[in-house]
Symmetry: C2
């Protein structure tokens, strides 16, 4: 996976499903992933002990943090969901995201839903 130039446009072109993150790079203990999302299919979940970064490359993502007002992330905006904070995301139109997570992070936390993918399923 290492030692090659990564073109995100080309990599996104190979992704045909929503909510199916793909690992594109590893940097020490974190994975960098890309994902296309659309719709309300992410369940509320928490990553105990692990922060998760969302960076919007295309579209608009609505971030929901339990007990706080929803807010939107537009292109060029990022947000770190701190460890232990219950969250959910959704969007009406297709949105393309860059994610930074620990290698051990399960993308829907301990919650299993129809979108849940194992880490192996997230690899090219």
């Amino acid at each position: 996976m290492k030692n090659e130039k990564l073109n995100l446009e080309e990599l996104f072109a190979t992704i045909n499903n929503y909510f199916s993150p793909k690992v594109i790079a590893e940097v020490n203990d974190v994975y960098v992933k890309i994902v296309k999302v659309k719709g309300p299919d992410v369940p509320w979940h928490t990553h105990d002990g692990e922060d998760e970064l969302f960076y919007v490359l295309e579209g608009r993502l609505t971030m929901q943090i339990k007990g706080e007002p929803d807010f939107d992330l537009n292109v060029g905006e990022m947000f770190v969901v701190p460890k232990g904070v219950e969250h959910r995301v959704f969007c009406v139109e297709e949105c393309r995201l860059l994610l930074i997570e620990n290698k051990t992070t399960a993308h829907t936390g301990s919650v299993k839903s129809s979108i849940t993918k194992s880490v192996d399923e997230q690899k090219y």
Copy 2:
């Protein structure tokens, strides 16, 4: 630093110097940084035991890996310099980068040069 929405355009607007990385977010053991670069001022250096990711947001960055042909990274392209690999970057026109590095990574490795900044100097 956490729990706030980050707009990269606004953050870049606050940076007045080249080769002066700024920490904008932390995700577990890594820092996410932004930096404006222009010119040939980065010395050859190595990060022992630590990978470093470069993602080009604006401009064109030339990546030099010791013993290999130079190559360019354009907007939307990223490259991970693996741990222990001697490298250097330069660009003719201003280039804006997102970096992902361990919190412990010194941006010019063990090499001290005119551009070297401590981690504290990289914080807002």
